[in-house]
Symmetry: C2
Subunit: 393 residues, 2 copies
Amino acid sequence: MHDFTFQNPVKIHFGHEKLALIGEELKKFGKRVLLTYGGGSIKRIGLYDRVVEEVKKAGMELYELPGIEPNPRIGSVRDGARLCKEHNIDVLLAVGGGSTIDCTKWIAAAACVDHDAWDFFDYEKWPPVNKALPIVSVLTLSATGSEMDSGGVISNPETNDKRGRLSPLLFPKVSFLDPTLTYTVSPYQTACGSADIFSHLMEEYFTTGEPMFMIDTFIEGMMRTIVRYAPIAMREPDNYEARANLMWASSWAINGLIGADKGQAWSCHPMEHELSAVYDITHGHGLAILSPRWLEFCMDDETMPRIARFGITVFGLDPTLPQRELALRAIDQLGHFLFDILGLKRTLPELDIDESHFDSMAAKAVLPYKGTIPGFRPLTKDDVVSIYRMCMK
Amino acid sequence: MHDFTFQNPVKIHFGHEKLALIGEELKKFGKRVLLTYGGGSIKRIGLYDRVVEEVKKAGMELYELPGIEPNPRIGSVRDGARLCKEHNIDVLLAVGGGSTIDCTKWIAAAACVDHDAWDFFDYEKWPPVNKALPIVSVLTLSATGSEMDSGGVISNPETNDKRGRLSPLLFPKVSFLDPTLTYTVSPYQTACGSADIFSHLMEEYFTTGEPMFMIDTFIEGMMRTIVRYAPIAMREPDNYEARANLMWASSWAINGLIGADKGQAWSCHPMEHELSAVYDITHGHGLAILSPRWLEFCMDDETMPRIARFGITVFGLDPTLPQRELALRAIDQLGHFLFDILGLKRTLPELDIDESHFDSMAAKAVLPYKGTIPGFRPLTKDDVVSIYRMCMK
């Protein structure tokens, strides 16, 4: 249990009648708003019209940056920053999932500097984030937790880099969490989003340190929440209870609380970022494929008790079983949940990924950690290649 | 599940090496600090000297308000507000438990108005809280959660009133949670503080609405945390793990998260406030005596499933038992925990309380609710008297 500092200032409006407050919240930050969004889905569900109406009612000037990609790219950050400077934007309104919000965070920072936006992610340069425009978000996908955290991940297709960075200035000021806005999320995207949330929980849960018991109960509770509600949301897309639980879990899985007392790097995320940087796959799907293999790779006498406990508290395994059997069954149950129940593909070849880039991807995954990711088990470049290989079948 | 707005901006420095940051945090708010505290315990444990040293190192001017009472009184609020005005105080530093922090919050508000401090609690007047001095707190008792919430309860011994009120301006800016500062808390006060935390959890958990599953898992996890660690902290006062878990649970039991999706009044707190207003007993002890009787009083076909679930998830009762038996055993287990394990007195007479004021106390308890407390079960004045009577033996 490490000393820590925790602060999360994001104001959350949660529920199906809260969007009426968008204009009121935006107005607090000025007159000129840049609306950022991805593809056409927010138009199809009528959310675009609703948001524009609220912004107009508030008497604000509206500018737009559409077309933010899944795995958002540095080009969109540059475009957004240029628009902010040109139109003297006061506040950003991100409407979408984690990709749109992540991209908008770095637009908010890039709009306040003269250097190129990618410099923020260049390990050699790493300029400070001293200022950022305020951000309001409207969430449409329960997955990344970007609505309540201070980080964003950006891809650079020229270099095949996908990098994340945090800054306390990048917390959204206000986020709107309306579970009904996720009713149209497909079963596949619901599965991927749920796998992403589950992975955030696993990254913090699987630690060799001495975590705080109370926080363990929160993590295990959120894991049970995903196991319970993801399949319901896939079957009954307009089940409010299921969508609401997934949405609130997406925020609390990665808003600083559950990882505060840990001092450990994440493992599956750096490995997955290289996959989606090269192959542009859905982040949550990559995480799902990696997670059970990573746990299997990590299993030894030291890690076994924690994996066994995961099986008991999350999947309800019989605590009287021998520990090794519990741990093995826990990994089985995890795979069963991700691949059989959520229906995600089990192997990389099923996503058209072969071994050709494993070596360079593994090298990049360990690069920020000077060669070894200090996670649940320390992972060298060769270890990462081994885990990628385990995902081939 | 109701729509809600959640925001908690308090910055928490948690751990045993964080006090060194006090000066740095205070300086952000100005030069003149009023240190508020209770009896001599912070001097006995060396905390007073430590805090004064940090304030001096930061080059700040120090003023003091000692002697804040348990069940803090409006007189102390008035004294503090006067000191703030006289010395043009920039920031308040509350060092102590919930009583000191509660009192300091209302000093912070009263320092910014011309009217009498009790007006804030006068149902006829109820002036707005438009401004408050910034507050930094150093917690020495895990109980009320005042370190991370926006409320404070103040007693008026002239009228035997004890009243609480919230305002978003009364969140501490920064709270220091150092579990080692609670090593000297006596087993009895540890028991009372733990009963207070447990009661906060029960007040939100026992709802007839449809609560959010994920939040239920958090509440149950914190309940298990108290059941697990309160006895350890009583037996081994310097057990860091136990003290840390109790401390972080005290904050999360009442910082706005677990009650956000509910729309229901608390029950035991209004009943207890009348007890401690008249008899000046320790708040957590009063809550402990009331809680099992209140649950027993509330039990009917509608509330039974929730009480049964509490027994399964918190006390590990066998889920295959009939529901009525589960619920009855859950209430038994609660009493066993509070009275046998924590060693608190089981009845009001053991605290020298007789029936003489039951009628007037019950009338006051339901007064803010126009006659009926809309809780787990609606409670009229007669119901409150019945529950008080159940606590006689």
